[in-house]
């Protein structure tokens, strides 16, 4: 945390007046998208540990319906963007980074799956759970940050 404090002290030098306003304006839209997204997570009960249990026990179609229809809408949207060469609001060409295949997608994916069934949450719902008043999930969140840090520490020693 010490480093964060240092960064905070340094920050004002980089955020001098003229850019600052534009920058905060820009970020507000991501906050709004996040809020709407969080509301969907809670209202559809996707943040529920029970829904994830139903999914992995194949006892309810609900989560398969959610993820499946999200993917269908995602595929159609991206095809639409490509076909009509839709640009961003500021007129840039839309860029979708390519995902290279690595062994991590198998090993890391499997490890995440173990954690997903335990916690009943992927990273997105973690945040919504905390907001919903399950404050003890802050501990899960901090552990997830620690897990990410451990990966970063040993990234070059792991098979990839």
């Amino acid at each position: 945390m010490k480093v964060a404090d240092k960064n905070k002290n340094v920050a004002p030098v980089e955020c001098e007046a003229p850019n600052m306003q534009g920058k905060s304006e820009k970020l507000l839209k991501y906050l709004i998208i996040g809020v709407l997204f969080g509301i969907v997570f809670v209202k559809a009960e996707i943040i529920s540990w029970f829904r994830i249990q139903e999914m992995f026990r194949l006892q309810s179609f609900f989560m398969y319906g959610v993820i499946g229809s999200a993917i269908v809408v995602g595929i159609i949207s991206i095809q639409f963007i490509k076909k009509y060469n839709i640009k961003t609001l500021s007129g840039e060409k839309i860029n979708i980074p390519t995902k290279e295949f690595r062994k991590g997608q198998i090993i890391g994916g499997f490890i995440f799956g173990l954690g997903w069934a335990l916690t009943g949450a992927c990273p997105g719902p973690l945040f919504a759970q905390i907001g919903s008043g399950f404050t003890v999930i802050i501990v899960t969140f901090l552990s997830a940050v620690a897990g990410t840090w451990i990966y970063g520490k040993f990234a070059d020693k792991l098979p990839n």
């Binding site: 209202k43 992995f56 959610v66 999200a70 995602g74 963007i81 069934a117 897990g147």
Partner: protein
Amino acid sequence: MEQLIEWIKQPWPWWVAGPLIGLTVPTLLIVGNKSFGISSSLRHFCAACVPAGIPFFTYNWKKETWNMVFVLGILIGGFIATTFLANPDAIVVAEATQQDLAALGITDYSKLLPVEIFSWENLLTGKGLLFFVIGGLLVGFGTRYAGGCTSGHAIMGISSLQWPSLVATIFFMIGGFLMTHVFLGPLMSIFGF
């Protein structure tokens, strides 16, 4: 208007929630050329708070602030939905799941998360160690090793037709099935349930 609020308070069906989540993909792309992904925020938190000179965390995380603002929004959205739009009734869970969970000692459906597991009293016990600490570590380590989570791979990656994301998603599911059907019961008895 009142009817609308009543309707919003009911749990939303999958065919409302799924497409809305899917629409996040083009929304983020069009609004700011951003790829939908949530687990990267965990990496940015590391880079911002404890980079410790590790190359994996030495990058300009300030450029990724949008991602942290986005997840902050998710947290606020969770608060708004629970405070103002909450469904007063207990969560409806499949009968078969209820039977399976009863065998594990989980019977309280008053909240979205079982209070037998997710409460502060469990923090310094085996239960807390298993579900909060070990669970969180697996999620954080696994998603970063895999290069993404359900949002980055299963939704964004598959939506853009990238087969490595399909591979990752298949292994998310394999890990989840194995934990649920093989490890969860024994682990829960070891850790004090």
